[in-house]
Every structure is written in C-alpha cells, then in structure tokens.
C-alpha cells in the first residue's frame, strides 16, 4: 500500500532531557539531553523510541500498547505524571526542553523503569476480586443503574500514575495510595459483591483512606480520566456510614 499520511504539522526539533540511571555503573541518577526530529502527531513515546532506536540503545523504559490502554509507560513529563504514549509532543511547549523522569516514590531500577512491587502489593491487599457466594446458573442480574454505580473505577489500568503523583505516598510509601482505593471502590460499590465490609475495614487503616489529603494530583494524573479523589471520598463516606 501507498504510504499513509494524515494532515501533519511540519517536523520540528525538540530537546528531551531524560533522567537516567544505570544500576550497574551509576551511584546516582543524572540528566541527559537528546535532540530529536519530531512530527505533529508524534507522542513522547515516539520521541523516546527515536532516541532508543537511533541514538542510544541503552535508554530503558517500559511500553507495550502505545495507545494508553496497557498502563506500562507512566512517567513524569515536564513535572507531571503522564503516559508517554498519550502525550502529544505538540501539546507541550516545544520551545523549551521536555523533561522526562521516572514516576516518583517507587525505587528506580533503571532509567525510567521503577520497581512496581510496593504498588502491586497495596493493590493485592484490598482483595481485588469479586466475592460472591451464590452459585447462579446464569448471569447474576444487575440493573444498568447498579452497573453505572462503579463504572468509573473499572477503567483502571494499574499504571500507577495516580499513586506516584500523591504527595502523601511520596513521604514514606506506606499509604495504600489512590490506585488501591480505586480498585477497592470498584468492588465495594458492585452490587454483586459481598465483601465490601472487609475491604472497608482494610482501608480504615492507619495507611488507608484517612491519609488522603485531597490534593487531587491523582485525579489530574489519571490517564483514564477516573475521578479518583471522588472515588476516595465515596469510600471514606462508606466507612463512616459503615456500609456501601
């Protein structure tokens, strides 16, 4: 087939300043800058690929789907948590360099890759699965309204953009973090689930929902547009009232 093209903006050169860390040679991270030639529809992920593929093969980051559904490439772009594959270069101020660094509050493993273990651990602690003891022969019934009640929080892709944007999480990494609460919310408000009480109890912890200081960084960072702070507020209310 012929080459495809979409109405594009002219190509332009941008500078990326990437915070790098090589665990085998560095004792501390360092900033390194790269100039790349980009087009209007290019995303930060394309720029990182361009660097990796044409300039420095050792640049390391996670990515997979390249369109914002797998949650691999959350990173800090110009000071804010974003998915590299959803951040269009032209939406950033390209007259200035673009700063790219790993998400904050999780141990850096190499360049933009962080150790996600603490993040997953918090997720696993809230019992992220449906608990229902009945044994239906067909589907369990659920009205569209009941289904809508928890729709927002089913969108989560576990990218950690929220948790690693949370100033409370940065302090000591002990806070459950918004992602875990979002995933608890998804079940707490599912009419089919029987384990809301337990989950509410788990989040009524020293490191639970009460540590949220409503800073909204999570909501602002969530690439899926989940109203994270609202979900957290709903969980707080559910704990106060003793039930979902």
């Amino acid at each position: 087939m012929a080459e495809l093209s979409v109405p594009t903006i002219e190509s332009f050169t941008v500078t990326l300043i990437v915070r790098r860390f090589d665990p085998e040679n560095d004792t501390e991270p360092k900033w390194e800058d790269f100039d790349v030639e980009m087009y209007g529809t290019d995303r930060v992920l394309d720029a990182l690929h361009k660097i990796k593929w044409e300039q420095d093969g050792s640049l390391t980051f996670r990515r997979s789907c390249a369109h914002g559904v797998c949650g691999s490439d959350a990173m800090r772009i110009n000071g804010r948590n974003r998915l590299a594959c959803k951040t269009l270069i032209k939406d950033l101020d390209i007259s200035k360099p673009i700063y790219v660094e790993p998400i904050k509050g999780l141990p850096v493993e190499k360049d933009l890759i962080v150790d996600m273990t603490p993040f997953y651990k918090a997720y696993l602690e809230i019992n992220p699965f449906l608990v229902a003891t009945d044994k239906p022969k067909k589907e369990r019934l659920q009205s569209p309204e009941e289904r809508a009640r928890y729709d927002d929080t089913t969108k989560c892709i576990l990218c950690a953009a929220c948790t690693s944007s949370c100033p409370v999480f940065w302090t000591d990494g002990q806070y459950f973090g918004p992602a875990a609460i979002v995933n608890a919310h998804r079940f707490i408000f599912d009419s089919r689930d029987e384990n809301a009480e337990l989950r509410l109890d788990i989040l009524n912890d020293k490191e639970g929902v009460w540590r949220c200081r409503t800073t909204f960084n999570c909501t602002e960072a969530c690439p899926r547009g989940i109203e994270v702070t609202k979900a957290i507020a709903e969980v707080k209310q559910a704990i106060l009232r003793g039930r979902a």
Binding site: P29, R76, R80, F216
Partner: protein, 125 residues
Amino acid sequence: MAIKPAGTLYRGKVGMWSWVLHRISGVGIFFFLLVHVLDTALVRVSPEAYNIVIESYKTPVVGLAELGLVGAILFHGLNGLRVIAIDFWSKGTKYQSAMFWVVIAVTVIAVAGFTPMHLARVFGH
C-alpha cells in the same frame, strides 16, 4: 531526602498547592498558638508581666507578622471548609478548584480590608 540530582518539582495543580498552603498555614498557626497560650497565661502572673509582653505585639515588626497570621488563619479556616465540602458534598470534587479560588479571593479581600485598619493602629500613636 532524595539523592542528587533531584528530580523536578512535581507540577501539581491547585489541589496540591492548596494542600501545601494548608499544611504550612496549619503549622504556622500551631506554633503561634503555643506561644499565644503561654503569653496569655501571663495574666495569671501579674498585669505588668502581661502588659510588657503584649506591648511587643504592637510593635511594627510583629504588627506586620500579625497580618500574615490573620491571612494564614483565614486561608486555613476557609480552605478547611473547602476540604470538608470535598469530603462530604457529592459535587465537592467537581468544584474543588473553583472553591479554591473563592477561598483565595475571600482571604485576599478580608486581609486587604483589615490591613489599613490594623497598620494604622500599629503605626499610629
């Protein structure tokens, strides 16, 4: 906390900055409160002792600091109401940034109204 070179400052939006201000103002008020309880307790020692200390509240430097204190209390208190609204009002999260600007506006207007009055007293005879 972080090993150098540090990462960039996180560029949060009003939610984050309101929290930073809330926290700083809270700490500020707290330490003032400690002092304030102690100085007020001097009324139990003697009228002289109390008056000597309270005089220093009327000096220009402390007088200016009082403006800051009033501003901090206003902001902290009003923002506290905003936080409570976020927690308890179902539309709170939606209007949080609008509410933040209301808090700032009310604080600024109140401090602006109070300042000339207060400064006149501090710098007046």
